[in-house]
Amino acid sequence: MDIFLQQLVNGIVLGAIYALVALGYTMVYGILGLINFAHGEVVMIGAMVALAVIQVLVGSGVPLPGPLIAAVGLAAAIPVCMALGYAIERIAYRPLRQAPRLAALITAIGVSIVLQNAAMIVWGRQYHSFPALLPATPHHFAGATVNDLQLFIVALAALIMAGLLWLVHRTRLGRAMRATSQNPEVAGLMGVNVNTVISLTFVIGSALAAVAGIMVAAYYGVAHYFMGFMLGLKAFTAAVLGGIGNIAGAMLGGLLLGMIESFGAGYIGPLTGGFLGSHYQDVFAFLVLILVLVFRPSGLLGERVSDRT
């Protein structure tokens, strides 16, 4: 019981981050039927851009409060990621909308590689440390420790997810997005500008990715050009777990995966008698993915899809 609460807290924080990234995957898949492999790299670029801006501010010696610097970093990263998402959609995915799925998938992999290596060329291969901007005052309760950063991450993520749900279910744009994800052709007939909706989906997903990127960098204290790969894979697992194409599913899936990973990393040592250590943590996400896809491919909140190719 001693580590249970702590792992729960860690799991929720991790889950909030996964949920934000998973939303990007699930929205794009819901509308285009395409796994946007490059999404993880957009997260990474958001983190690196924010870090670059923050380093400039911190290094310039201007006495600004930490949270303000973080906000400026955020404000810098979000437009960059939005533009990047838009560019990816226009250049790499739009010409291939009528092409077979394999071509789009391989192009997505290509975009992911290009972004990773562009980041490596620009920012180098080293791990960049993210300065501690928020006061990390820990709060103790019932044996677990929570610090301000974790609370902030969860609060911000919850706020953003609430905003997204409001957007999708209560606005015209959201209605257009839902219509396009159900049937793009008929949505076009009903007066929805399908191209604009698709572009906006990418843009919104990328904005979320930027926020998630900064959260990850702040939480782990480092940013690295390869950080998007594993994160993207796990977030995709979260999206599949919740039911891909389903926004509430992505949130639920993210939270669940965060907790599974947290508990798994915490308990795997004692459970296996020391045979497997916590560096097998990444394996959990993949195991979850495989189990979900084998036993319940539609995910937790997805509709039952028949076994058609």
Partner: protein, 391 residues
């Protein structure tokens, strides 16, 4: 033989695009096809090719240096890998992003059984088939959960499997040291057939054969065997079953093809080629570590298959050769930039993967069937595009 545009003949596009002959049969195309199929021509081409391949190490050594012979040997290894992945991706249409796992299993199998790590030194003729069998089993194990998955999900799950294998290879050094963790296994026995060790310079008929040449010839022999097996598989019942599954799985099942077994067979056969290549790699390098078997390798092998021409053996070979040779050639960009601009603007090693990614995107946008596709594949892709355009 009238042509539709009023001229007495038309230059036939089939020469360049590989589409089937249209109504306008023309003189030039006719002559070309007859020449292409003349047995004397075919034999001359094959014999010339064989002669070129045999003297390749000598010519490369003389023209470009010993390191390029080593690159040629690696190119042969990658051709084997690409042909193995070609079975899974090209024939059966199963997008496998974790193929390097089989390469790793084959390499570690060889390494663990022929090195001081466990003190075992099994002979080569036993090790290579053993490695192929073990990798086959892994292929079935990894393929079994993916049988019901469609393209995108299959890709991610195989990606996950590739990563899982790498993580296990990296961490299985405690509490029982199986794979020696991140340090890898070194001091692997070089390949030795009976008393003839490949790791010594031999001379024969007045020619000296350094170590690299010996390995090159061994790899060449095995690559030719792999090409032969691929060719026979392509035209067999199994090969046609794979193509049927690739084109329409439901229809294939309706025609009585056991899709589960055929898919597992695709994974197993593809994996076994990877295992053989892995074993050869371990013997050649003398050292294996988990760092050689990352996701980037998987993606590179996939690039070779896709860029070259999925499902088309000459295309895949072309893709493999290009993607091995071009990065090495790009290394010369460094000094070139130095000479032209006085300093190196971008490190060629860093540019390598960036150029890969760009090449992938460009090829998929402009020529999705690959550089040297088969006519069947091109028609498939064209039909697919037209269908989804209409739908």
């Amino acid at each position: 033989m009238a042509s539709s545009d009023g001229l007495p003949f038309t230059v036939h596009r089939s020469l360049f695009t590989g589409y089937g002959k249209g109504d306008t049969v023309i003189y030039i195309s006719d002559r070309w096809q007859r020449w292409r199929r003349d047995p004397r021509v075919v034999w001359t081409v094959y014999i010339t090719l064989a002669a070129l391949l045999v003297v390749l190490p000598f010519v490369t050594d003389w023209a470009l240096g010993r390191s390029w012979v080593r690159i040629a040997a690696f190119a042969l290894l990658y051709i084997m890998l690409a042909l193995g992945l070609n079975i899974v991706v090209g024939y059966a249409g199963l997008l496998d992003l974790g193929y390097v796992a089989f390469f790793a299993v084959g390499a570690y199998c060889y390494a663990l059984l022929a090195s001081p790590h466990f003190g075992l030194h099994l002979p080569f003729w036993l090790l290579l088939p053993l490695g192929a069998v073990v990798t086959c089993i892994f292929g079935v194990l990894l393929g079994a959960p993916t049988l019901r998955l469609r393209g995108d999900y299959l890709a991610i799950v195989t990606l996950g499997f590739g990563e899982i294998i790498r993580i296990f290879l990296n961490n299985l050094d405690a509490p029982v040291n199986i794979t020696n963790g991140p340090q890898g296994v070194n001091l692997i026995d070089p390949i030795r057939v009976g008393e003839f060790s490949l790791a010594q310079t031999h001379s024969f008929l007045g020619f000296t054969f350094p170590v690299v040449y010996n390995y090159y010839y061994l790899f060449l022999l095995l690559t030719l065997a792999v090409v032969f097996v691929s060719l026979r598989l392509e035209d067999s019942r199994i090969g046609r079953a794979w193509v049927a599954i690739r084109e329409d799985e439901v229809a294939a099942a309706a025609m009585g093809i056991n899709t589960r077994n055929v898919k597992l067979l695709a994974f197993a056969m593809g994996a076994s080629f990877g295992g053989v290549a892995g074993g050869l790699f371990a013997g050649f390098q003398g050292l294996v570590s988990p760092e050689s078997f990352t996701i980037i390798e998987s993606i590179m092998i996939l690039c070779m298959v896709v860029l070259g021409g999925m499902g088309h053996i000459p295309g895949v070979i072309l893709g493999a050769v290009l993607l091995v040779v071009l990065p090495e050639a790009l290394r010369y960009l460094g000094p070139l930039q130095q000479a032209l601009f006085g300093r190196v603007l971008a490190d060629p090693a860093e540019l390598r993967l960036l150029v890969f990614g760009l090449a992938l995107i460009l090829v998929m946008l402009l020529r999705p069937s690959g550089l040297w596709p088969s006519t069947v594949r091109q028609r498939e892709l064209a039909a697919g595009a037209a269908e989804s355009g209409r739908a």
